[in-house]
């Protein structure tokens, strides 16, 4: 028991906290908005909000609709705008097509001339040479740089169609930045420290950049966090994202409920969804699974593998008409023999 708190505030033993948590999240969700975008807010990074976001988190979707990161900068340079900008430049994924003003292609001869846009080049502080060098790493083309243009020649000619595919790939190849990060914005705290928010998440790559606080990259994608920081961090990500989404709607739900959901989802060391492919679908009880979804499948598999239902959960006991094992159902009332005697 926690110290300093009166015993009267402590949770009653046996309380069905799972159901309590589920209801506490489910009940207000009716009042949440459906619109994912709504008031996108100018220039800042777009995030999914409202009910779709809650569902996305609880479903444990592998690819959230709008992933994003908040990147903190190492203390010694975090107030130096120039240095932060330098880091920022390494983040945003800039494709060749974003640096050019246009291109000419000759599909038959397999030659494409990309006209670079000097204005954009300078804004990203990159030269034509570095671009050419970067493109030169590709194995299917040779590149030549000449002043403002880059001439791309295809190595193996296999018809117009494949040539075109290669050219499109070249135009879409990233020149600078980390793949997956569509947009990065430098922002400033009240105390003057700079940090970077991104749309798109890739912790693994971002950690490789010098000057970034490697231990303190926040991502709203639990799977990213799981991969890079471990399951405890992923659990916190789920909980934090849920609570902030709910709060944004002007609704209040105790952190205890949210924390329990997050714990239930990450119990096994990986992220499991609350639905039929996750926790509910992997219960030990055949009857509980069958009563939830995919009834026939669960019965058939139970037969094939000779499964045994120990009847320990709530759903299966309701099904067979027995008292459930949570709440007051955990408690048995007994009368001492001598007390009965007293009555008589």
């Amino acid at each position: 028991m926690a110290k300093g708190k009166k015993e009267s505030l402590i949770m009653t033993s046996g309380e069905a906290v799972g159901t309590l948590a589920a209801q506490s999240i489910g009940e207000p969700s009716t009042q949440m908005m459906l619109r994912a975008f709504h008031s996108a807010g100018i220039s800042s990074v777009i995030t999914t909000r409202g009910l779709p976001r809650v569902i996305e988190l609880i479903d444990a979707r592998k690819r959230p609709r709008n992933p994003g990161m908040i990147i903190r900068i190492e203390k010694k340079i975090s107030k130096d705008y120039e240095k932060v900008r330098e880091i920022w430049r390494k983040l945003e994924d800039v494709k060749l097509s974003a640096l050019m003003s246009g291109y000419d292609e000759n599909l038959r001869s397999g030659v494409m001339t990309v006209h670079l846009d000097p204005e954009r080049l300078s804004s990203y502080e990159i030269t034509g040479r570095t671009i050419a060098a970067k493109l030169g790493k590709r194995e299917d083309i040779t590149t030549e740089q000449d002043e403002k243009d880059i001439v791309v020649k295809i190595k193996k000619k296999e018809g117009v169609k494949s040539t075109r595919t290669v050219f499109v790939n070249v135009l879409n190849s990233s020149i600078i930045g980390i793949p997956g990060i569509n947009k990065a914005v430098v922002q400033q705290d009240e105390d003057g420290t700079f940090y970077i928010t991104t749309s798109g998440s890739n912790i693994g790559e971002a950690m490789k950049i010098d000057g970034i606080e490697k231990e303190d990259i926040y991502s709203n994608d639990p799977f990213e966090v799981l991969k890079n920081y471990g399951v405890e961090a992923a659990r916190n990500t789920i909980a934090n994202e849920l609570i902030s989404t709910i709060k944004e709607e002007g609704l209040t739900v105790s952190y205890r409920h949210i924390g329990l959901v997050a714990d239930a989802m990450t119990l096994t060391g990986e992220i499991k969804s609350a639905g039929r492919h996750g926790i509910a679908g992997e219960k030990a009880s055949v009857l509980a699974r069958a009563a939830y979804e995919e009834t026939v499948k669960h019965f058939i598999n139970a037969g094939v593998f000779g499964e045994t239902d120990r009847l320990s959960g709530v759903a299966e006991n309701i099904l067979i008409g027995k008292q459930i094992g949570v709440g007051t159902g955990r408690i048995r009332l007994g009368v001492r023999k001598e007390d009965i005697k007293k009555l008589k």
């Binding site: 489910g26 619109r35 609880i58 924390g259 499964e307 094992g325």
Partner: protein, 845 residues
């Protein structure tokens, strides 16, 4: 009570031998009744399979309808068929075993390794099959265990493996030659038990050859009762129809085989038999046509009976119809407490509560039984469990019989406990226990403050009343489920039963700065809440509202707080400074209520809310709170600023449009230029409403009752006011300006490619001035959109909740405050990190 003895349920498949052992009759006649309307022997309604007609006796057990549980029969199929639901399992078995020696496609060494691995997994703490399987799958993924189906050559006999194909639902091919069901059965029966264990199966429960059906189990007639129509015609159950089909084909197949018909014809019939059996098990099997009734309605076969929301599991087993319940319209009743429910006399006369006769209360029980009017005994349950209705005729007789051990069912009386429920039952507060008060009338009555947790109003809402029967259930209801003990919501620890609507207006008017009342008024207000003293006079003959309010506060109560910039201070039961608002006594953030709860407990807060609401409503009534058209006439200054806002917004939108057309607009990431423009112009146009709201806040005070309503959060908000008296503002369809409609324009009134605010749903009229026709249509579009999305949110959030509950319903707090699931596995070491009850988390100490 007998169910208590079920310890576990083991699932297996049934062998043909077992089916024959279970069966009481081999069925051979593919028909039901003969011409005389008598069940045909060895037909599908064979009388040995049980009885469904009243008065008849079962030929197997001799029981009647209520006592005969029904008995299984069987059909012997002349040719085996694949059980469609097991087709996938058969497929993987065929792939994993050798076609010539039928051994698993793994060497002894590999098998031993796998065995070891499986044993290791099985002997570890988790025992359920799902975990074992997923762990094995993982090992396969890592390449530690080779997938048998990828093995090319049998390690035992060296036979080259052939490609097996499954064509859904039940057709198997080996190297593109069709496999017959009997071949498959042969193959499967030759797989050894040891190999099956390696494949994760339990050979003591299931042999794979049983997946190919040779003997079909026929369920008893109770499972598929026929109904007699009014016309006297019998209508058979879907399952019976399907079984008739199966037997017909089976019979024809047998005849053709005996007559030595060509193989093609036999194969055709065999395939037809397969189809009939497949649809018998699951009529929604993908890849085959649905079997239909004569009326073209699809047949409901076995899988359909179990599946889904209307299936056996969810409709009849997880949820059940109950007795001892009532349902009717609800209405408000201010004379009740929050804990009470008004139950109409008519309902109270029908619902009963058991009175357990003991040697201590036998006299009282007998007196009850003697009664011939309202609170009287309706039924007597004897020691043997026979329920007898009490009538004038048998009352005397029963009186003599009654002795300890009998149960009398008496009508509801005041003070009994009932559970009120309003659907949708979204949280535990949707079912609460109320003390019953029997009243005249036809509706159930509840106190308005109890509406919130139920989310009820009185525009025709109906609620259910359940009367708990057992003493345990009644005690549980009384101690754990009464509204007075549930004032603080377990969701966030804030009060869920609190002041609302005109109560909030009343309390504001009472306690606002400078509010005074005459002696007569003060007396009438205080007498209403049972206070017989008068507070100190503020000036001669005048009593301040604050002082009147203070009379219902405990004398030793002090409270200091700052809420939204407003100071509030209560000293020794006197409201010294500040006005009572939602933030203090409202739902979801009642700081004052929480403080009172802390110091004086739930019982006090319960009466406090009751008194406060009475007092507040009396003030509202006394002062007269009403809205009228005059609330919506704008002052000249307001109109002036409104015009300025509209002009300003138009101008800004024009500028954006110009910038967009000149391609000078900075693109938002991930959006096209057009989308960027739309997003920005939308934000700009939507802000007009907020600007207008600021104007209203500036110029209109609480003397305007509409404004007052919004200010004290009684009903409506400032935006509703703005839309009524100033402008409707920008309409939105799917979060954007209306776009679709006619080519290049939303409504035909506009010219094509008109991108001005008005052409895209910007409405400058108000509800008060009325809308122009185009505005009306724009508004209708917005309304339709929000109506649509609202219904979608409800569906989505309902499913979300179902999933959450299913995932977590087994969790409970143990004695050591840890959270555990059904198997006892640890979810949290201490609930919430500190073991605090969330409904009490806002309380200090």
């Amino acid at each position: 009570m007998h169910a208590e003895s079920i310890e576990y349920i083991k699932f297996t498949t049934i062998s043909p031998e077992q089916i024959k052992k279970m069966s009481v009759a081999r069925l051979i006649v593919p028909d039901t009744y003969n011409d005389e309307g008598y069940p045909i022997d060895s037909g599908l309604i064979d009388q040995r399979l049980g009885v469904i007609d009243p008065g008849l006796r079962c030929k197997t057990c001799g029981g009647r309808i209520k006592t005969c549980p029904g008995h299984f029969g069987h059909i012997e199929l002349v040719r085996p068929v694949i059980h469609p639901e097991f087709a996938k399992t058969i497929y993987s078995l065929l792939q994993s075993t050798c076609h010539s020696c039928h051994r698993i496609l793994a060497t002894q060494k590999e098998a031993a390794e796998v065995k070891e691995k499986v044993a290791e997994i099985v002997s570890s703490d988790e025992l359920d099959t799902a975990t074992v399987l997923s762990t094995i799958e993982e090992e396969v993924g890592k390449g530690k265990i080779k997938k048998p189906k990828s093995v090319k050559k049998c390690p035992h006999c060296g036979a080259q493996q052939r490609k097996i194909k499954l064509e859904r639902p039940t057709f198997f091919y080996i190297d593109s030659n069709k496999m017959k069901a009997d071949e498959i059965r042969d193959w499967l029966s030759k797989i050894s038990d040891d190999d099956l264990k390696l494949l994760g199966m339990d050979p003591s429960a299931t042999r794979p050859e049983w997946f190919v059906i040779t003997v079909l189990l026929v369920p008893p007639v109770n499972v598929r009762p026929s109904i007699t129509l009014e016309s006297g015609e019998r209508s058979e159950d879907d399952l019976t129809h399907k079984l008739v089909d199966i037997m017909r084909i089976n019979q024809r197949l047998e005849q053709d085989i005996d007559a030595g018909a060509p193989q093609i014809i036999i194969d055709d019939l065999w395939e037809l038999l397969q189809y009939q059996v497949t649809t018998y098990f699951n009529n929604e099997t993908p890849g085959i046509p649905v079997a239909r009734h004569r009326s073209t309605r699809p047949l409901k076969t076995l899988a359909q009976r179990l599946k889904g929301k209307e299936g056996r599991l969810r409709y009849n087993l997880s949820g059940k119809r109950v007795n001892f319940s009532a349902r009717t319209v609800i209405s408000p009743d201010a004379s009740l407490t929050i804990n009470q429910v008004g139950v109409p006399q008519k309902i109270a006369e029908v619902l009963t509560i058991p009175l357990y006769v003991t040697k201590w209360n036998i006299d009282e029980a007998k007196r009850y039984l003697e009664r011939k009017e309202y609170p009287m005994v309706l039924n007597v349950i004897t020691k043997e469990g026979m329920r007898k209705r009490v009538t004038e005729v048998n009352r005397e007789e029963l009186l003599k019989l009654v002795e300890p051990g009998y149960v009398l069912e008496r009508q509801l009386v005041n003070g009994d406990v009932g559970l009120m429920n309003r659907q949708p039952t979204l949280h535990k507060l949707s079912i609460m226990a109320h003390t019953i008060k029997v009243i005249p009338g036809r509706t159930l009555r509840i106190h308005v403050s109890a509406c919130n947790p139920y989310n009820a109003d009185f525009d025709g809402d109906e609620m259910n009343l359940h009367v708990p029967q057992s003493l345990e259930a009644q005690a549980e209801a009384r101690y754990l489920m009464q509204p007075r003990d549930l004032i603080l919501s377990p969701r966030d620890g804030e009060p869920i039963m609190a002041l609302q609507e005109d109560e909030l207006i009343g309390i504001f008017l009472l306690t606002r700065e400078g509010a005074t009342f005459t002696k007569r008024e003060a007396c009438s207000l205080l007498a209403g809440v049972g206070v017989t003293d008068l507070p100190k006079q503020a000036s001669k003959g005048k009593y301040s509202g604050k002082a009147i309010f203070s009379m219902i506060l405990p004398k030793d109560f002090s409270f200091d707080g700052k809420l939204g910039g407003e100071k509030i201070s209560i000293e020794k039961g006197e409201l010294a400074e500040g006005t009572i608002t939602v933030k203090l006594v409202g739902e979801g953030n009642g700081a004052l209520l929480i403080k009172l709860f802390e110091q004086y407990g739930s019982e006090f807060v319960n009466t406090f809310i009751l008194n406060l609401s009475k007092l507040a409503v009396a003030v509202s009534a006394m002062m007269g709170v009403t809205v009228s058209v005059k609330d919506y006439y704008n002052a000249d200054q307001v109109n002036k600023e409104l015009t300025a806002i509209i002009d300003g917004t138009r101008k800004k939108a024009d500028e954006l449009l110009k910038k967009y057309k000149e391609k000078k607009l900075d693109q938002l990431p991930g959006y096209t230029r057009k989308e960027t423009f739309e997003i920005e112009v939308m934000a700009e146009l939507e802000s007009a409403r907020t600007l207008a709201a600021n104007v209203l806040r500036k110029y209109v005070g609480p003397e305007n009752n509409t404004q007052l309503m919004a200010m004290v959060k009684a009903r409506g908000n400032i935006l509703n006011f703005v839309q009524t008296s100033m402008l409707l503002g920008q309409q939105a369809v799917r979060g954007r300006r209306p776009q679709r409609g006619y080519r290049g324009r939303v409504l035909p009134y506009f010219t094509r490619r008109d991108n001005t605010p008005e052409a895209k749903g910007f409405i400058t009229s108000s509800f008060f001035t009325g809308l122009k026709p185009v505005e009306f249509f724009m508004h209708a579009m917005g309304s339709r959109d929000s109506a649509m999305s609202k219904s979608l949110v409800i569906a989505q959030s309902g499913y979300l909740q179902r999933r959450l509950i299913n995932a977590m319903q087994d969790f409970y707090v143990g004695e050591d405050l840890s959270v555990r699931d059904a198997a006892g596995a640890l979810v949290q070491t201490i609930y919430g990190g500190d073991g605090i009850d969330p409904s009490k988390e806002k309380l200090s100490e």
